[in-house]
Symmetry: D4
Subunit: 222 residues, 8 copies
Amino acid sequence: MSHQYDHGRRDRIGMPEAVLCSSKTPTQISAIANELAQVGNPALFTRLSDTLVGEVDASITSAWDHDSTSGTAVLNGSLPARAGRVAVVAAGTSDMLVAAEAARTLEFSGVSAELIVDVGVAGLWRLEQRLDEIKAADVVIAVAGMDAALVSVLGGLVGSPVIAAPTSVGYGVATGGTTALNSALASCAQGVTVVNIDNGFGAACAAIRMLSMADRFAGGQP
Amino acid sequence: MSHQYDHGRRDRIGMPEAVLCSSKTPTQISAIANELAQVGNPALFTRLSDTLVGEVDASITSAWDHDSTSGTAVLNGSLPARAGRVAVVAAGTSDMLVAAEAARTLEFSGVSAELIVDVGVAGLWRLEQRLDEIKAADVVIAVAGMDAALVSVLGGLVGSPVIAAPTSVGYGVATGGTTALNSALASCAQGVTVVNIDNGFGAACAAIRMLSMADRFAGGQP
Amino acid sequence: MSHQYDHGRRDRIGMPEAVLCSSKTPTQISAIANELAQVGNPALFTRLSDTLVGEVDASITSAWDHDSTSGTAVLNGSLPARAGRVAVVAAGTSDMLVAAEAARTLEFSGVSAELIVDVGVAGLWRLEQRLDEIKAADVVIAVAGMDAALVSVLGGLVGSPVIAAPTSVGYGVATGGTTALNSALASCAQGVTVVNIDNGFGAACAAIRMLSMADRFAGGQP
Amino acid sequence: MSHQYDHGRRDRIGMPEAVLCSSKTPTQISAIANELAQVGNPALFTRLSDTLVGEVDASITSAWDHDSTSGTAVLNGSLPARAGRVAVVAAGTSDMLVAAEAARTLEFSGVSAELIVDVGVAGLWRLEQRLDEIKAADVVIAVAGMDAALVSVLGGLVGSPVIAAPTSVGYGVATGGTTALNSALASCAQGVTVVNIDNGFGAACAAIRMLSMADRFAGGQP
Amino acid sequence: MSHQYDHGRRDRIGMPEAVLCSSKTPTQISAIANELAQVGNPALFTRLSDTLVGEVDASITSAWDHDSTSGTAVLNGSLPARAGRVAVVAAGTSDMLVAAEAARTLEFSGVSAELIVDVGVAGLWRLEQRLDEIKAADVVIAVAGMDAALVSVLGGLVGSPVIAAPTSVGYGVATGGTTALNSALASCAQGVTVVNIDNGFGAACAAIRMLSMADRFAGGQP
Amino acid sequence: MSHQYDHGRRDRIGMPEAVLCSSKTPTQISAIANELAQVGNPALFTRLSDTLVGEVDASITSAWDHDSTSGTAVLNGSLPARAGRVAVVAAGTSDMLVAAEAARTLEFSGVSAELIVDVGVAGLWRLEQRLDEIKAADVVIAVAGMDAALVSVLGGLVGSPVIAAPTSVGYGVATGGTTALNSALASCAQGVTVVNIDNGFGAACAAIRMLSMADRFAGGQP
Amino acid sequence: MSHQYDHGRRDRIGMPEAVLCSSKTPTQISAIANELAQVGNPALFTRLSDTLVGEVDASITSAWDHDSTSGTAVLNGSLPARAGRVAVVAAGTSDMLVAAEAARTLEFSGVSAELIVDVGVAGLWRLEQRLDEIKAADVVIAVAGMDAALVSVLGGLVGSPVIAAPTSVGYGVATGGTTALNSALASCAQGVTVVNIDNGFGAACAAIRMLSMADRFAGGQP
Amino acid sequence: MSHQYDHGRRDRIGMPEAVLCSSKTPTQISAIANELAQVGNPALFTRLSDTLVGEVDASITSAWDHDSTSGTAVLNGSLPARAGRVAVVAAGTSDMLVAAEAARTLEFSGVSAELIVDVGVAGLWRLEQRLDEIKAADVVIAVAGMDAALVSVLGGLVGSPVIAAPTSVGYGVATGGTTALNSALASCAQGVTVVNIDNGFGAACAAIRMLSMADRFAGGQP
């Protein structure tokens, strides 16, 4: 059985070629990576833990560029640089995996990403110190677990698109991230949008969709 | 079958005599109120909608002091005034029923209550304008539905006890108040405590427990 | 107790002045509307059922422009027209209330909105017939209940930002809209974002955030 | 304690003899397999991970035919070939375990199964390329996790019985497969039926019931 | 905005033209019915309570054939009779609405349906008395709420396709039908399939898909 | 910190001295067992996996009588034999751990227990073969996972007290045992009672309460 | 379609003939009652609200004995008196409907029932005052909503069978009774059993099963 | 990326500097600990399992004071002693981890803590024996899993603030602690407050807020 990739996806809708590894076996990942290496298109592998990397074919691990902090690997290089800046704002150190996945997806896609961490609302002054940087970005990705209060506070202070990426960080009622997700969906700040729990990759893709639209918008407006 | 009231509760643990009406029939409420009217102790009736009041015995409705905004009625007068001030802080108009229930329970119990509404974090400047008032209170009750982000923001700004009373206000994932409840429980602010959804009465009782302890503490410290 | 409105919100983050009516009493809505009528800023009232309208002060109902299909009312006129076109795409007639709320919020905010209904994926040819119209929009709002399969299909065909507004339409496991919500969040299409169940207003606000960003982006690109 | 097998099941209702291994100890599996080996009837073992196989009696592992991809083993050979073709259609590589369990159950039961993978709706053209093959099958098993949008799209394009086998593939709200399950149950396509999450075996048994009925139907219709 | 019906659906996949009324307004139902009346194709309206019927245009209520027991109406006559018999087996009187919806959908589609009620497993002899009738059917629809034990018992006794239609009948943990649904999905009987809670219409459509396949199967077998 | 055992429990309410090990550390279990060994009263340890036993003090493992099948250990011997017979009826091999825990608790308490396995309702004839044995028991404990249909079938056939012990056996919607639990609670058979998921110990204790009552009843009836 | 009653149920398993009315239409209830009136066996109707009674055939309402407090009606008289006493212990007035349903079911079945109300554990002295009465009963039914702490306290003080009937009384997390149900199932007191939420009827039937067993036990012990 | 600590938190709101370790990597914990060691402020590390400690930099493990029972470590010494006594009351040995985390947080913060274990309500006499000690405390932390009945019993006997810390101890419906949490929130005792599941640290912080308030109260009352 050979795979049937959607290589036309970037042309069709501007989304990068990407492989979600967490529910695949090392054998499956190796097979996919080998096929993509032959095709030669830039590709991103996500949810790639160090353990999983250790079980993949050696030929692949020497070919791709793996980054432990974000659990991602890049094969066949990145995409060309493009206009637009995205701020990835994370409440705390524990949200780092998701924030880094978002930042690396953006960088792989040629978009400039700034990572701003440790600005949880329990110490509001920390967010206020970084607010000008955040306001200067075209799109804001808010990464937060537990109560995800950061999402509403950001949404009330910033007029740019705010994409909430709730994380599974926390224990008790926060376990698994449903509380952060629902809190972001029920946000009292208007016009905040949300992606799946821990979906840093998806938040980055959403930002890319917005920047591509802005590009067309800029081109089409006399 | 006659009722078996816990008239000693105030002496035993300092909690007011109170009747939760929402799951009782008008006949049951009338019977209880008549018995309490004869005993003569001050008593508070909660979750008493206008509709329910209209179905209770006329002798009772002329005897008690009913307030529609909080859905409460006071029978046989209030308890003596005592030291301590509580700030009841509500995110928006829709949280008014719960906030007013808390405030009326406090007033019935002789505690001074200040109601501060419309300070949701989507417009953070509104909360900042009232912050000095809130900081001056001995105990803060934070009333909020939807994402309940107000709870974490308050908990990070104020050192007093913060009691979160999540409300069932909202729709979609906010329906029924579970999102607000879980958000408050998972709050990134340290040492915030929580009561059941829509339980303004319970939040007030918790504040009374704290003020009573402080009274004893003040008395017992040389 | 007077209300404390966030009149600076539009200047601060570009969001329209809006009042969510579903969890407020007719008395509260009348009070708020009277205050806003005096201020004179354009304001939008949402979740305003015909029943609720019937219980509001007559002075208000003659002042605002109420629309039953979307359950909204506009007070003090709409905001000035601005660039950008949004396609509001709904799976079926039952999703009309949410789709119309999104469309009316956009129109109130000066944004051109096109409503495309009856394009559920059970009859895929219907969506294909309208695809060129949808692709021509700057932002797409996908309104769907039940399995919300429309979201993934649209996300795979269109490169613009796709905002999913899941609806509470359906019965059994679809009751309340959680299945549609989770389906949209777990979408196999990259970069789709999601708002709360039945939140047509929020989806429109998210689109406005994106168009405002594109405006700035267009201005800043030489 | 000896086991009490239901050896008459195939005669009674046409279902194959099968043992679900995932909640049994290696000792229990060995005991059952030894008893079945003596009886001599063809039997299928499902949910048999490589780890579990490593802990079972060596006499058994040399007797049965184990397949890692589907996590199944066949003891005492397969059942005789019979009429009818089933298409097992899977959204992606990650759904392979469940799809292969369905295909192997069919083959063990003498039914011809065709496995069609990587046809998720995010790239709809891939499904369209394979549609004629799928339409030619008597029964279609749709295997999909996450949003399971494949189920509705297939159900709208194909008139044959469509059996949805939702999978536990995914993270966040997709964890455990409930979103895929509910999405399939709430499908906007008419007459789709559903089996338990990850139940490839059950989907195959349902297809066998349908083919047996068709056999009788063919025989009984003049 | 005019509607965009999927009139080709019956030709494409053999499913009847049907309108789910429960989440539509009387105005929407009237508009759809008027358009369908002009087209002239047979159409089925489901989830049509007596209350809803009372609010629909009089021209429609005189044109269609409404049945209170099943909450359905037939417009423009039924479809031609076809081969195949379906047994609709219901645990108790309370499951009647769903069972009747299934039976009426079948009859509207030209399929012979037999309704067998009051055979819950708490009195197993009642089911055993009717077992020969049930075994004689081509397809069995099992309608049951609460614990839905009827599904597993039937699935173990009958070799035909068994489609479970769980109902929302019951209280406490049975409220809403999730227990019946999950019980049917987790059935210990092999190859049972399931439709959404209360979805008598969908169960009937699934049976029609199976009978159509059997028709083709019969035709294609020499 | 020394422990404060409830040694009077057997005299007070007739329940055996028992220690739930699954949420205790090996150190805690060793300390408790050493204290109980000195006291000398018969005691039962439950949820004692082989792994856990391997980490407990050797002095203890030589003192108690551990049984792997039920995950229990008996210290200081069993209680005296008493009248009454209990049938522990389990649907399948996978339910063995819970069934054996119930049987061993009964035997430790001096009550005669008969274990009847592999009588799931998917093959009803197996249950019918053992029905006379089951009817002869004073109390019936029904152990079943997945859909727990055995509970309702037994409850409809037997007049004795039927105690359902739902198990966590199964996958998908059956994961964790909630479906079996809810199915048992919603049973269509009258007067069935239920204990917590996997609580074989509690089911046995409930049977002991009933037999003790019957003892008193027998003594008190002239 | 005529009904197929299980008139042999009392002979077979000792359970009373009973009709659950809450999910039946007035027409269905009238039809069933008329048939049962002709048969002449004593029958109990449960969940029969005053509203529902008002819609049933007048011939029935004059024939049966309806009681509003318990929502039950008795047709054709009660069953003969038998040995055994059951204490129905309820936490508060709000639990009265369920407690009265249990008591009336017992009385209809010829069993003596004592109703003890207002003994919630928030005022533990009230329970202690009635403890001797409760201990004197053969079986105890504990009726409680909210946290259902009464169940564990009773289970620790009483050696008789304790059947928990959790109620749907309460708001917030207590809504619908799931918290009370789970609290009773997770009770720290050994050997407590549980019935479905609000199932006073089922709790009474369980008590009858136990008393019947005790009867046989008494007869069979020399 | 350097961390941005909230060192002013103790001055601002009186809360101790603390690091939640459970969702951080050993590398992240080491980095944070090294930075805090240089700053020199007393800091508490929580959720620090022995396994995690073994993976942290050796320089850190020699610098902090780690305690396995509570899973905490103290760096740079404790805070100065202050007035106030807190009773930490736990139902059983299994709740020890959470109870010890609360006690250690208090001791680190300079507050006297008394640990009282094995007072579950299944043996009520044990609690009654310790009641005078508990009543003498200024604040009571009630630590309990499963049904958390201890919370309501304590809340009814003690007038001081009662903070419930529900634990994840238990199995079946108790798994994860939601039943204990909801039971505490729905407590029939007035004015009990609740923190997140297993949040011994948060319960201690809440007690500190209350004692700080009492300190100010004592100072401010003439």
